[in-house]
Amino acid sequence: MIGAESMSALKKLLNEEQIFRDEAVFNPYGNSGEVTVYPETEEEISAVLKYANSNKLTINITGGGTKRGFGGLMEKSGILLSLERYKGIVEHTPGDMTVTVKAGTPFNDIQDYLAKYNQKISLDPFWPQMATIGGIIAANESGPKRLGYGSARDAVIGLRTVYPDGKVIRSGGKVVKNVAGYDMNKLFIGSMGTLGVVSEITLKLRPLPKCESLVLVSFPQGKMEKIKVLAVNILDSMIEPVTMELLNPALANKLAGINSYTLALTFEDVESSVRYQEEFIKNILPADADLRIHSKEESESFWSEFYQHIPNTAAKELPAETEASLKIGSVNMSILNVMKEAELLIDLLNVSIESHGGLGHGLSQVTIRGAAEDVADAAAKVRQIAESTGGYAIVKHMTFEMRKEISVWGENPSYFFLLQGIKTKIDPLKTLNPKRFVGGI
């Protein structure tokens, strides 16, 4: 509980307008706080953590608030620490192709800034206009372009992390190659804020592609075997798509008006190479598949629509239907089974499903909408499907009430003792994002 004493202590650390008492009784997604604080400097973040940690208060951390439905069995902590006001570019050296940013910076703000230098961060997260870089890194968000460019663990080269006791620990550095000591960056990427508050992030950049195109190959007959043959042929060829994402009919329909399974291939390179790769696809196209080639502008708008298709807890209005979203990891080609089986749940449980999966990187995502009970049933089934292929499923989005009824992260891994050991070393009092992560860490 945040009593009068804690309030006045916080007021000594921050200005009045950086502290906000949340009177709302209940947040449908949980992960909130009795008091929201908005630090504007790293010193302030550190001071709040130090105070909370030494006074047995708990802290939830938030950036843009797009992922409130991702993990967490606490409706409220004492403090909700928002990084919304800790934003901006700290350093950008165009010649080194690296950028250092504050954690609360919305992803698109950084991309817009970098575009002036023909550079970009090679990540493609959901809701990029709202999601902060800190939240993206903490949740290890990636999108279809992971096939071409890798994920957060490949892009992040340095971090500053505020530990629960207030000390600031740097990991990595500002150079693209670095093996001095343990690769501690990896520890914080995807840690869901359970180890520290990542305050500053240094990333390596890529040049903006000189040319880009989107090739949509759709399969009106929906035969998974056909899709697989094409995907395997592409993977075994010399062409280098940066996405090879399969969309289910509902999602393809929403994004491109094609009501059948559709493979979205993106090419980014110099123009001659892009044209060559388009031709290549034309030449190996199966007889009963349809092909559409889209220009750079169309490709950009297609993907930007795509990044808005999953639930967003920062949206102003609550959705009319209950929503859930699961992230599934499997070996590449098992994605076809996962998506096919998930599709059967539409009729079986009277839900709507949008799903997509990267046939070159092994991650897929299933978004379910419908009546609360049906959605919960479908989510449980999706997990079964994932596990039956030897993969895993984690719940990326659900309301707080629903999360209590399902294990968000699935069974604990056999090496859970190591995860627990790490948490205990860094955050022994469980101050940060309590119960947000695997096994209630």
Binding site: K177, Y182, M238, I239
Partner: protein, 487 residues
């Protein structure tokens, strides 16, 4: 036959360990056999192990480890022993667990683009095993013809082509690890990405064999690029060469490799086994490789030629054919060893700097060379700012080894001071323990040893590596220097 497989030692640990690994053929314990294991590629520091065991499978590794930990015997893993920072040196008279008999290619799954190997499998063998199908394994340390993938994982090894494709950690999908208490743990099951939980895969990769012993590795394999072209450029001024590097990158080209050698290095490679006729009076040579879709390569090569010309290049041209390209690379990849042709001894350093600081750092390295009266050759992965200053010295001259170590350390200080780091691919090992303080605070080092404690609480596994030991550091430095004199 049987007698040959019998142990002649009365030391009960030797007898028991021999039993675990299957007899005398799988263990070395006599002094004359052990001397080959008293150091690795970092030869300035030496110590004899208690024994070397050669397990055949994970189970034997686990049993050896369990035995060692129950009997308070320090132990460590060793691959090919090519490490350049002393990671495999048995500082504490360790039991060395050699991985060289665990050298199978377990499986290749082209459809899902991955392969599973045992840790003793040699890096280049993987590419050789899959190249007929058009695939390869990207991380290509210059030692790839003999170093093991297990050693690569431990050091998070890099190579010339890591500029575009990333270092080892970017290609590791799964690991089976024997924990320091003998427990077997599998992370990244089946190579499936983003396993829920902290990224142990990322943490163990690059931990220099201090968190566990890797017994199985799932790696990503890539399709060969359709086209490839290499450009060679000679510059009369290092500044022009450095500037060309920046210009190429700024032009939005992502070369597969971008390597540079300076005048002293050129003298070395031209005197060694693979000379290609680089002019002796040139200040810098750049080797730039572009790969990808064949249709797009010419455009990029033309752009590179143009950039070099703008920066006053003396001569620039693309390789005429694959044979010439291969010769240029053999000349570069054997660069370290080539120093043997112009100096009795050399010390390889491994600093990293922001690319834009290249001219400034090179001139400071020159100053260090003059101050110490030792020649320093520079071979580097210029594209990612990874410098390898090679300090040339003669260990027979009293005090010169010590001077070389100090000069090397000074080079790293320069790198750290411009915002870089002390090692880009060779690891900290014994060699750069103290230099860790150039980049990390006491608290930050403690944050790392905290992690070690979770995995390796009693520190029987590869103790004394990677971190400066608080309080003892002055002593160690003295000891190191004394050893340097002898070595």
């Amino acid at each position: 036959m049987k007698a040959k497989n019998q142990i002649k030692s009365t030391d009960k640990h030797i007898v028991n360990l021999a039993e675990i690994v299957g007899g005398a053929r799988s263990i070395l314990y006599l002094k004359e056999d052990l001397v080959a294991y008293d150091c690795d590629g970092f030869t300035i520091h030496k110590h004899l192990p208690k024994a070397v065991v050669f397990p055949k499978n994970t189970q034997e590794v686990a049993e050896v480890v369990q035995y060692c930990s129950e009997n308070n015997l320090p132990f460590l893993a060793r691959g090919a022993g090519t490490g350049l920072s002393g990671g495999a040196i048995p500082l504490n008279g360790e039991i060395i667990i050699s991985m060289v008999r665990m050298k199978k290619l377990i499986s290749v799954d082209l459809e899902n683009r991955r392969a599973v190997v045992e840790p003793g499998f040699v890096n280049l063998m993987l590419t050789n095993s899959i190249s007929d199908k058009g695939y390869y394994y990207a991380p290509d340390p210059s030692s790839q013809y003999c170093c093991t993938i297990g050693g690569n994982v431990a050091e998070n090894a890099g190579g010339a082509h890591c500029l575009k494709y990333g270092v080892t950690t970017n290609h590791i999908l799964g690991l089976e690890v024997v924990m320091p208490n003998g427990e077997i743990v599998e992370v990244g099951k089946d190579g499936i990405p983003d396993a829920p939980g902290y990224d142990l895969l990322g943490l163990i990769t690059g931990s220099e064999g201090t968190l566990g012993i890797v017994t199985k590795i799932t790696v990503r394999i890539l399709k060969n690029p359709e086209g490839k072209q290499t450009v060679l450029a000679y510059f009369d001024r290092v500044e022009d060469g450095s500037q060309a590097v920046s210009d190429i990158i700024s032009a939005g080209i992502v070369p597969a490799a971008l390597e540079m050698m300076d005048k002293t290095a050129i003298e070395g490679v031209e005197a060694a086994a693979f000379p290609v006729g680089h002019p002796k009076d040139i200040e810098a040579v750049l080797l730039i490789e572009v790969d990808g879709i064949a249709a797009g390569i010419d455009e990029q090569i033309n752009q590179i030629l143009e950039v070099c010309r703008k920066r006053n290049v003396r001569e620039v041209r693309a390789a005429k054919n694959e044979e010439e390209r291969a010769r240029w690379w053999a000349n570069r990849k054997t660069g370290f060893g080539a120093m043997g042709a112009i100096s009795p001894d050399y010390l390889v350093q491994d600093g990293v700097i922001p690319r834009s600081k290249l001219p400034e750092v090179l001139s400071k390295i020159n100053q260090i060379s003059e101050e110490f009266g030792l020649r320093i050759a520079n071979i580097f992965h210029a594209g990612d700012g990874n410098l390898h200053p090679l300090v040339l010295f003669d260990a027979r001259i009293p005090g010169e080894s010590k001077k070389a170590l100090e000069a090397g350390s000074q080079c790293l200080k320069v790198c750290a001071d411009v915002g870089g780091t002390i090692t880009g691919e060779h690891g900290v090992g014994i060699e750069k323990r103290e230099e860790m303080r150039f980049v990390f605070s006491e608290e930050e080092i403690a944050a790392q040893t905290d992690i070690r404690e979770v995995f390796n609480p009693y520190n029987f596994l590869n103790a004394g590596k990677l971190f400066p030991s608080p309080g003892r550091c002055v002593e160690i430095k003295k000891e190191l220097k004394a050893q340097a004199k002898i070595g």
